[in-house]
């Protein structure tokens, strides 16, 4: 049922996407194209509409205007679970994990979500468990399979977030501030994790921290007040006067 990715089609196309909450236009008229396999960073000060844009792409709520296309397929009206089954994996700014379950069970739930048999009354298959363990290894949690998620450290929770987003074998992986609250020791680890992702995964990352965003990004989109202000390769962004004004003007947020 999952359509084959049309070769050549961009991973993600937003056309004039906007979202209003009452009188507030959280996102207005955003048009952007992310090529398949690209690494895209979305920067911007607090309240720039980055997370709202993410939620529009992931289907948490529909846009009030515009179109969202995933690999050439219009998904504007699709609910989140359909998008997930079509290969959109995401993490959240504040980790949204299953606190009462173990690390392995969190990943098993994630693995099953993208497979048929979501209502299965049979125990998770060997294959499900094996994949969950593989994901745990990928995000460096292989030694904590049986640990209850409520007992994990902040950094471990962020790693598990990424692991769960990878469980659906995403074609498009959306990471919302993956480095938020990480210690200086954990940051390079996360960066390595992102750099190791295969190019079959298109990556979109919201990040405040330039030190994380710029090394991985092919192209950076800078947002402010719900709109895209600049878009270009990292080198250009670093020297762009508008960006400097935004960041200096608001202080360097984190």
């Amino acid at each position: 049922m999952t359509p084959m990715p049309q070769t050549g089609a961009p991973a993600l196309v937003l056309t004039g996407v906007g979202r209003r909450f009452g009188a507030l236009a959280a996102v207005s008229d955003v048009t952007l194209t992310v090529a398949a396999g690209e690494r895209r960073a979305v920067l911007g000060p607090n309240g720039a509409g980055k997370t709202t844009l993410f939620n529009l792409i992931c289907g948490d709520f529909p846009p009030t205007s515009g179109r969202v296309e995933l690999f050439g397929q219009d998904i504007t009206a699709d609910p989140p679970h359909t998008r997930a089954r079509n290969g959109v994996g995401r993490t959240y700014q504040n980790s949204l994990l299953f606190n009462g379950l173990s690390v392995q069970d969190n990943l098993v739930v994630a693995v099953r979500g993208a497979r048929p048999g979501r209502f299965s009354w049979l125990l998770p298959s060997r294959d499900d468990v094996a994949k969950a363990r593989r994901l745990a290894e990928t995000v460096r949690l292989g030694h904590l399979l049986d640990a209850e998620v409520a007992s994990l450290s902040h950094g471990q929770r962020r790693q598990l977030e990424v692991g769960m987003a990878l469980a659906c074998d995403p074609r498009l992986l959306m990471l919302d501030e993956p480095a938020a609250g990480l210690s200086p020791v954990e940051r390079p680890e996360l960066l390595r994790l992102m750099q190791e992702l295969p190019r079959s995964i298109t990556l979109v990352v919201i990040e405040h921290d330039m030190d994380i965003a710029l090394p991985i990004a092919d192209i950076v989109t800078v947002m402010k007040d719900g709109q895209v202000v600049v878009e270009g390769p990292p080198a250009m962004i670093e020297s762009d006067p508008t960006v400097q004004a935004i960041y200096l003007g608001h202080g360097r947020a984190h």
Binding site: L144, A147, S151
Partner: protein
């Protein structure tokens, strides 16, 4: 509810799955063994009217505990759903007074009763699917009381206020259900099977997703699940469990009347579930035993008419001392022994 705690590495589940370590199955089997031999040492009255009755109530309470523990849904419709199964059988079986349909053997009436309860569970789940917390309580309570009042006022199908009498229950392996020991062991076997089903179910993708919904419904949807269907299905499972309880309840009382499945019955089931603890399905049975003991001996302890005062006081004491019931008490005592660390946020959240 940020669960940020450093240094928790390697600590294995002491939280919601709390009593969910490797020793749950051995402990459950040991308890089952005790329950199997206990009737040899106690008078038949205790076997039938206390333990047997407690297990019947425990099954209905477990349907509530299942939803609350693993889904985070507190449903006040479970007694009504049990009543639906009871009424379905009472309407169908031969010998019931008054005979409404009659003539349908128990072997067929029982599956029909269970099906009816499961469907009612699904219906309640579907109607309540968008509600949470206090609104879920109100909508399930309204459904529970609404159906009960419908039954009470319908003479043609349910004989109204008087209900249906003389539903004696089936023969089990050729022995009459009325026999104390036949009743007790049948009830125990059914309870054990349903309890095992719950423990098994929560390890399957369906059960794990249900716990995911409890912890974070938004994430569940983002992982590709349609959480609403899972919720409704969980209410169906709870309806099936409550249905078994309703059948046994009807056979035990040799009939069923609307008074027994109304607000009073609903509150009693809730009290049992909360006294026992909403952390594990066994809590329902612990709560039911405590409830039935007080219900039975209120007269000896103080005064028959003061049962509500007594059980209310017991309820208050347990909930004040341990908000998560007797199970929570046991967990705390265990922690004291092991000098383990303070409760994790997952427990605090309950």
């Amino acid at each position: 509810m940020s669960g940020d705690r450093t240094g928790g590495a390697g600590r294995t589940g002491l939280g919601l799955r709390g009593l969910g370590g490797g020793w749950v199955i051995p402990a459950s089997l040991a308890l089952l063994a005790v329950m199997l031999v206990l009737p040899a040492f106690i008078p038949p009255f205790f076997t039938g009217n206390i333990l047997g009755r407690a297990i019947v109530f425990g099954i209905i309470a477990m349907s509530l505990t299942f939803l609350a523990t693993y889904g985070g849904f507190v449903s006040l419709a479970q007694m009504m759903i049990a009543g639906v199964a009871g009424y379905a059988v009472a309407v169908l079986v031969p010998g019931a007074v008054p005979s409404i349909v009659g003539g349908v053997p128990y072997g067929l009436a029982i599956p029909i009763g269970l099906l009816a309860a499961t469907l009612m569970g699904l219906l309640v789940g579907a109607i309540a699917v968008r509600t949470q917390g206090i609104y879920l309580l109100m909508i399930t309570l309204a459904l529970g009381v609404g159906v009960q009042l419908f039954i009470q006022t319908n003479i043609a199908w349910f004989n109204g206020y008087e209900g249906i009498r003389n539903v004696v229950g089936p023969d089990v392996l050729g022995m009459p259900f009325r026999d104390t020991y036949v009743f007790y062991y049948t009830t125990l076997a059914i309870a054990a099977a349903l309890y095992a089903m719950v423990l098994y179910l929560v390890r399957t993708p369906f059960g794990l997703a249900l716990q995911g919904i409890r912890d974070n419904v938004r994430r569940v949807n983002a992982l590709g699940y349609h959480a609403a269907w899972h919720r409704i299905a969980a209410f169906g499972v709870a309806g099936f469990i409550a249905g078994w309880g309703g059948l046994l309840f009807t056979f035990y009382n040799i009939g069923i009347s609307p008074g027994s499945i109304g607000l009073g019955g609903t509150v009693n089931i809730l009290i049992m579930a909360v006294i026992g603890g909403l952390g594990h399905p066994i809590g329902a049975f612990i709560g039911a035993v405590i409830f039935v003991v007080f219900d039975t001996f209120a007269a000896d302890l103080y005064d028959r008419d003061r049962f509500n005062t007594l059980i209310g006081a017991v309820f208050l004491v347990i909930v004040l001392v341990s908000p998560d019931g007797v199970l929570g008490l046991a967990k705390r005592a265990g922690r004291l022994f092991r000098r383990a660390p303070a409760p994790s946020p997952a427990e605090a959240r309950q």
